[in-house]
Amino acid sequence: MKLITAIIKPFKLDEVRAALTELGLEGMTVSEVKGYGRQKGHTEIYRGAEYAVNFLPKIKIEVAVADDAAEKAVGAITSSAHTGQIGDGKIFVSSIDSTVRIRTGETDDAAL
């Protein structure tokens, strides 16, 4: 199985979720992260002193999928999270050795 990790712009979450569910992927884990990259942050002035906000709010999505489903999923995320603006984010795909569904004890693909 593959673990697809996507860093996206927060307001794109719903579209991405929709795109994934369309593929029948109805499970994912999401968290709030801060991103640093080409997209530069903004500088603010607080009480007369300037400071830079370098880290920008991003959403991290983790989806575990069967090997054959990975490509489609990556494609779905890429298109649904795309704005063309700098800062759209990244997708990382890595391998999972094994998976367990805690409720049932099912393992691997059956656990997804």
């Binding site: 801060k34 903004h42 603010e44 002035i45 880290f55 709010p57």
Partner: protein, 454 residues
């Protein structure tokens, strides 16, 4: 105020007493002596000062209520708007508002375009001091402005909003206020006056259900329509996307502050407390005001429980305020039971009209339109039921004429602002939040998505 008559004998006696034994009294204390009439004058002034600081405190109530009802990314902006509006309102109402509302209206439509100036302490005549009167009237004017800020929150830029506040507090509010409280054409007491001839009574609005609350509400409504809804609030095919407020306890605190301030708002509007009759009236107003708010809350929690299976606290808070607004037009004549009923209807109005506005795609962030405009109309129209000196026709004329005036004038101002400096931030700015766009400081920088700890 008929108590005038009753008291003159009493007063005579009082004076006599002071004549006769004033000296003895002196033995009792070294404080400066004060005579009967002066005492009433001082007491009336204290009513204005105390009532006034309570209403001033309402500005903090609106600030907290709104800060709690908007999303995190717009909280700093909402705080800024509230402290700024209270400031400019005060200056505008001094520079022109007060005299435009009270200086020589005399059955007409407006007063004079002059700043308010204060007589020397020894030439300060009347039933109360000039400055205490200004202070008390000023905080009412600021209240009208606070109402607007809640409705148009999260999507209007700071400066156009503040410019609107200047016009509202300097001209729109004072002019319509002049019609009634400035002894203008809706008020003039003479039996031959137009309003009495036509409607059989003058327009009655004790503490401002219409003059303050509906006025703010109309201005807010027009603004909300011209502004449009917050991005994403309404989806295609009539879908409504709730945007829950970011801080419920702040909203609750704000409501309690407003509730407290309302005792000054309604109680102080008796304009005098220096006699048994006035003291009794102010007290009854306190009681009725509290019961009306209670009625609004109880109605709102029962209805939301029945309709939705859960109690919506934001409706309960709106319910309290709607109850208060409803009783504001006539807090003196109703019985306690009637006060509860009037307030409860206010709560009902909230529960039914908040979703209605959403259906009409009018985005009222804090529910100020149901609370201040609709409950204000209700409260004004129901006055004749408890006050025989009021007539439904006169009330309707008052409500209608003020509605027309405020809608037209604020429409003009909002439109000019829209097509000159513009009302709305860019889409990106709105998405990022006004705090980042115009204030540059998050409300809670160390938690929430924008945490600056990272």
């Amino acid at each position: 105020m008929l108590k005038k008559k009753e008291l003159t004998q009493t007063m005579a006696v009082a004076t006599l007493l002071t004549l006769a034994y004033g000296g003895v009294a002196y033995a009792q204390s070294e404080a400066d002596a004060i005579s009967g009439p002066d005492t009433a004058y001082v007491l009336n002034t204290m009513l204005f000062l105390i009532g006034g600081f309570l209403v001033m405190w309402m500005a903090a109530g609106f600030a907290m209520l709104e800060a709690g009802m908007v999303r995190t990314k717009n909280v700093s902006m909402q705080c800024t708007k509230n402290i700024a509006l209270f400031s400019v309102a005060g200056i505008a109402y001094w520079a022109v508002g007060y005299n435009l509302m009270y200086d020589g209206v005399d059955g007409g439509y407006l007063g004079s375009f002059t700043p308010k100036d204060i007589p020397a302490t020894d030439a300060d005549k009347g039933s109360y001091t000039a400055a205490s009167d200004w202070f008390f009237q000023m905080v009412f004017c600021a209240t009208a402005a606070s109402i607007v800020s809640g409705t148009v929150a999260e999507r209007i830029k700071l400066w156009p909003f503040l410019i609107f506040v200047v016009v509202l507090c300097g001209f729109i509010y004072p002019i319509q206020g002049a019609w009634k409280w400035g002894a203008g054409w809706l008020a003039s007491g003479a039996d031959t006056s137009w309003i009495k001839t036509v409607a059989g009574a003058e327009f009655q609005d004790f503490a401002g259900s219409t003059l303050v609350h509906s006025t703010g509400g109309w201005a807010a409504l027009v603004g909300a329509i011209l502004l449009g809804a917050r991005a994403g609030k309404y989806g295609p095919n009539g879908q409504i996307n709730p945007m829950p407020g970011s801080n419920v306890p702040l909203a609750t605190l704000g409501t309690f502050i407003l509730w407290l301030g309302w005792f000054g708002f309604n109680g102080g509007s008796q304009l005098a407390i220096g006699s048994i009759g006035d003291a009794s009236a102010v007290s009854k107003i306190f009681m009725n005001t509290n019961l009306a708010a209670a009625g609004g809350v109880v109605a709102a929690i029962i209805l939301t429980q029945l309709f939705y299976g859960k109690v919506d606290i934001t409706m309960a808070l709106n319910g309290a305020l709607a109850g208060l607004v409803s009783i504001t037009a006539e807090p003196l004549t109703p019985s306690p039971l009637w006060s509860i009923a009037v307030g409860a209807v206010g709560g009902v109005i909230v529960v039914f009209t908040v979703p209605l506005l959403d259906k009409m795609r009018i985005d009222d962030v804090v529910g100020a339109i149901p609370v201040h405009l609709l409950a204000g109309i209700w409260g004004t129209m129901i006055v004749p039921a408890s006050n025989s000196d009021a007539s439904f026709l006169a009330q309707a004329i008052g409500v209608g004429s003020i509605a027309a005036f405020v809608i037209v004038t604020s429409l003009v101002v909002w439109t000019i602002l829209k097509f000159t400096i513009g009302l709305r931030p860019t889409e990106e700015q709105e998405a990022a939040g006004l705090d980042q766009a115009e204030i540059g400081l998050e409300a809670y920088p160390e938690f929430g998505s924008g945490s600056q700890r990272i």
